[in-house]
Symmetry: D2
Amino acid sequence: MKPELFRLSRAPYPYFRTVPARFGDMDEEGHLNNVALAGFYEEARVSFLRHYLKSKDGQEFRFVIANMNITYLAEAHYPGDYDVGVGVSRIGNSSFNLGAGLFLGETCLGVMDTVQVVIANDKPSSIPQHLRDALARHTLVK
Amino acid sequence: MKPELFRLSRAPYPYFRTVPARFGDMDEEGHLNNVALAGFYEEARVSFLRHYLKSKDGQEFRFVIANMNITYLAEAHYPGDYDVGVGVSRIGNSSFNLGAGLFLGETCLGVMDTVQVVIANDKPSSIPQHLRDALARHTLVK
Amino acid sequence: MKPELFRLSRAPYPYFRTVPARFGDMDEEGHLNNVALAGFYEEARVSFLRHYLKSKDGQEFRFVIANMNITYLAEAHYPGDYDVGVGVSRIGNSSFNLGAGLFLGETCLGVMDTVQVVIANDKPSSIPQHLRDALARHTLVK
Amino acid sequence: MKPELFRLSRAPYPYFRTVPARFGDMDEEGHLNNVALAGFYEEARVSFLRHYLKSKDGQEFRFVIANMNITYLAEAHYPGDYDVGVGVSRIGNSSFNLGAGLFLGETCLGVMDTVQVVIANDKPSSIPQHLRDALARHTLVK
């Protein structure tokens, strides 16, 4: 259940997206809300996918999330600029996993993992070779 | 990784909270957004905890989420009134788990599990007996 | 600047949409956040438009908001089921106004007005007669 | 109803806050949602107030929004880094106005105005001299 240790440093993540906290991300206790933080991971994940995987011949695919797992390690506050690292942690036949980490400076405040299913014509589809190659170039580095 | 079968029907959940979808919950594809759905589970979870566990002598405690896991089984749409079932799935020493299911009528669209840590004086605390009793009365029923 | 008095009672609004507050709507002070409340009005406004104006031959139009004005009269709290009343307050050539009121029971906590522009082929368009008729049937009643 | 012309350039705003759009800010049409954009203005407004007005002897005050008015001039898209300019447009006895503009580069996509009421001991209060001075130093420049 505990995240693997290597996930708690910035080193393994090949891509980072900075997400400045917004006032509206806070909950009544003055922390960044758990669901709002899920939005930070989403923003980094989408940004990663747009950055690396979208290409003219990739438009026929979309990615659906089958599972999202977030471990909250420490509370996050407003204001603050959070860096979310993202990388590929598994490549299967019709799905792949992304791993992410939320950082304030060098401190890891949480990690997230998603299972992404590749959809074409409204059903799960084998990952085409060019996407597979792109994913393989941006894996988490142990 | 797949949710246990019994979690996909309404029967095991002792508590339900109806969350009507809002226009703002949709993403660019016209589905209810994954993060927005995390907010549906949050609303049901908070409502459950307020309903059953808050009492005058419980004010010294708060609950922090250590882990949140969501499995998305089918896409959800707007408009719609979603029923989120919640129950206790584990009672530990200083933490407990909640399990939830998202339903449209009898159809389960997803399940969520959280690990909740009981905090007193800013650190994890043994669950006091009266909270332990309240949790035990509202477990998921296999 | 002050809202007209008749807007502070439920009577003039021909349509109501109930929006239950969610935990995530609260800000750090424990009130429903101003932006979250803008979402309550949005939900009621969209619901009104879907309910009355959408028809097979209306699909070629969409409505864009040119202006949104919200007056906050009192703080709103969680939990609570808020009723948002909506009605048409002006019908122009290519735009119309909607007026809304946010109620907890009989108490008005705020009012909102929007200017909606009718768009066809990506530019403002005269309101077609059947939409004009539908709008005229659901005006605010002084 | 139309915004004053000088508000459509960056020049008059003494303070800017950059708000990167998030995936979750989009609505089903792929534009940044109206309510999400209200959150952009909120973030800039709060940032402005924290930056200029908070001081040790200001803690006894809080600011409540009595009115928020947003004019939407053009659609905004994801991804994008939006600059929100903010300045003081009126200083009254117990309230003041803030004016804001939303920019993508030099293009103004909208303007917002709020009426902020100064609250002390749960009721409107004269603006104390040190806050009045701070506000006067950061006005919109025609």
